[in-house]
Amino acid sequence: MDINVELLLGTKVYDANGEKVGRIEEFRAEQDGDSCRVEAYLIGASAVIQRLSAWTLVRPIQRVLRSRKIYSVFEVRWQDMDLSDPRRPRLRIASKDLRHAR
């Protein structure tokens, strides 16, 4: 089954028991010989900062505001993501055992 990566961008992801986790904002992949394996999906607001490569801008502001909230990036391994219906991606695990990418 073929999916358009750019259309997956920004779609909401729900975990195994239907809880909203966040939006897909980035895909981590590895070059493997002639092809490119998708390793993990990055979900959450600060994944956007990753995409804009704006950490050098955001980190000082974060230090000034001393806010912890920004750290909500989830790195979902490809095995835990069920993309059978690209419009409603679902996790195969509950959101609490997701580990933080940071």
Partner: protein
């Protein structure tokens, strides 16, 4: 490598360092429970307008058929052709053969070369 930040919308450069448009989309192949792989880079209009409003795909393909180079399916480059992913994405392809430059050649031949001083495509 981050797909969106490092590949999507990046400038595509062919073997002879000539610009051939930007990556409008990426196609990911999903097996039953095999690891997903990015198989193709998509270039060209329809994929772009899809990202603004899905309904625009039909409209843009219809418009493209009214005039200009007749091309059915969008231009896709197999990922195996990707040489390096840096500030730009370098591809081991010949730009003209991939069809990415159809519009460029069509406008060059039908409009630009008709105007005096427009210069001419030496190869043709």
């Amino acid at each position: 490598m981050h797909l969106i930040r490092d590949v999507l919308d990046k400038q595509l450069i062919d073997r002879e360092d000539c610009k051939m448009g930007r990556a409008s989309g990426l196609i990911m192949q999903l097996g039953e429970n095999t690891q997903p792989r990015v198989t193709h880079i998509v270039i060209g209009g329809p994929a772009l307008w899809m990202r603004i409003r899905p309904g625009l795909r039909k409209l843009s393909t219809k418009l493209a058929h009214l005039w200009g180079p007749k091309r059915k399916e969008p231009v896709t480059i197999p990922w195996s052709r990707v040489k390096t992913v840096g500030k730009d994405v370098n591809l081991d392809v010949e730009a003209k053969e991939t069809g990415a430059l159809d519009w460029e050649l069509w406008i060059a031949r039908h409009i630009i070369e008709r105007i005096p001083g427009g210069g001419s495509k030496e190869e043709e």
